[in-house]
């Protein structure tokens, strides 16, 4: 395991992946309570829909974000928001990263 050798055990594995880190950091830039559409998030991150969905599901399973869809079919709109737990997890991840880099 390379992760162990680089001392990344203290980093939340749910966030410690490039795509998920970018998703969480992007959603955290919005004020608390605001939601972002799936399409805008995809545009900003330049990810394929399938890839984005997979990462979103992992984050949602961990309780770090919520999603809501309004409407059906082509007219549907999916909104994604970071939960309080997600913000706390990002703060903890950032703190752990700082500690890790300070010690390197």
């Amino acid at each position: 395991m390379k992760q162990a050798s680089t001392g990344t055990d203290s980093l939340d594995p749910v966030i410690h992946a490039p795509a998920r880190l970018r998703i969480v950091a992007t959603l955290a830039a919005l004020p608390d309570g605001d939601t972002l559409s799936f399409t805008r998030l995809q545009d900003i991150l330049d990810l394929t829909p399938g890839n984005l969905i997979t990462h979103l599901r992992k984050l949602e399973d961990a309780g770090y974000l919520t999603s809501e869809t309004i409407g059906n079919g082509r007219a549907s709109r999916t909104s994604i928001a970071l939960t309080h737990q997600g913000r706390v997890a990002l703060d903890a991840y950032t703190g752990a990263l700082r500690a890790l880099l300070g010690g390197l």
Binding site: A17, L21, D34, T69
Partner: protein, 220 residues
């Protein structure tokens, strides 16, 4: 995430097991910077352009009234120049707002819309005072010089000051306070000088706000 299950999921998600802490820190900082840029309602460049437009407009008003005895008001050309500048600024600001908020919903968007309405309503206070002054036969210098130059700055500036204080947005608070001070100074420097004082006050406020927000975005 039931609602997005029907989208193609054949692409495998890279979990990034090899992500180095330094690389993670760099990626995090870069993403935060890019996200703030994406959602920013007042990018420094547009604020700086608005500052330049304001300065040119108010200097034109000042130049067209300088040395008038008795004071008769700005020339039609200067007024048209200001209106064109204001129209362009509003159009650009609306475009930037629309781009920044596309796909974003929630309390902050509603609050920004309400703030816009509050600022617009407060701006209407200036022509109302101007009309009242005219009604009571105040001089041309007051009705078409001091009041239209100073009143919008004091009224709108005070409104923005309250909004900024409620959000603890200190760059905006400082800019609004500078606008109010510019308006107060404009009240006491005569009808022609009022345009110059108002223009300088607005320019300092807008340029200072652009510098502060630019610094904030650069440091994030």
């Amino acid at each position: 995430m039931q609602e997005i299950h029907d989208i193609d999921e054949t692409t495998t998600a890279n979990d990034g097991d090899e992500l180095d802490p330094r690389e993670a820190a760099r990626l995090l900082a870069q993403t935060e910077r890019e996200a703030k840029r994406q959602f920013n309602l007042s990018p420094p460049w547009i604020t700086a352009v608005m500052g330049a437009v304001i300065l040119v407009g108010y200097v034109a008003l000042w130049l067209s009234t300088r040395g008038q005895h008795p004071y008769s008001g700005p020339s039609a050309g200067a007024v048209v120049l200001v209106y064109v500048g204001v129209a362009i600024s509003i159009a650009v600001a609306a475009k930037v707002y629309q781009r920044a908020t596309v796909g974003v919903r929630g309390p902050s968007v509603r609050q920004a819309q309400l703030e816009g309405v509050a600022i617009l309503i407060s701006y209407l206070g200036s022509p109302v005072i101007q009309g009242a002054m005219k009604h009571y036969r105040a001089s041309h210098a007051i009705v078409y010089g001091v009041i239209p130059a100073a009143a919008p700055l004091i009224i709108v500036g005070t409104t923005v000051l309250g909004i900024a204080a409620s959000k603890a947005d200190w760059p905006q608070f400082g800019a609004a306070l500078t606008v109010v001070i510019g308006g107060v100074v404009a009240l006491f420097v005569g009808p022609s000088g009022a345009w110059l004082a108002a223009g300088i006050g607005l320019f300092i406020a807008v340029a200072g706000y652009a510098a502060a927000t630019g610094k904030r975005l650069g440091h994030s």
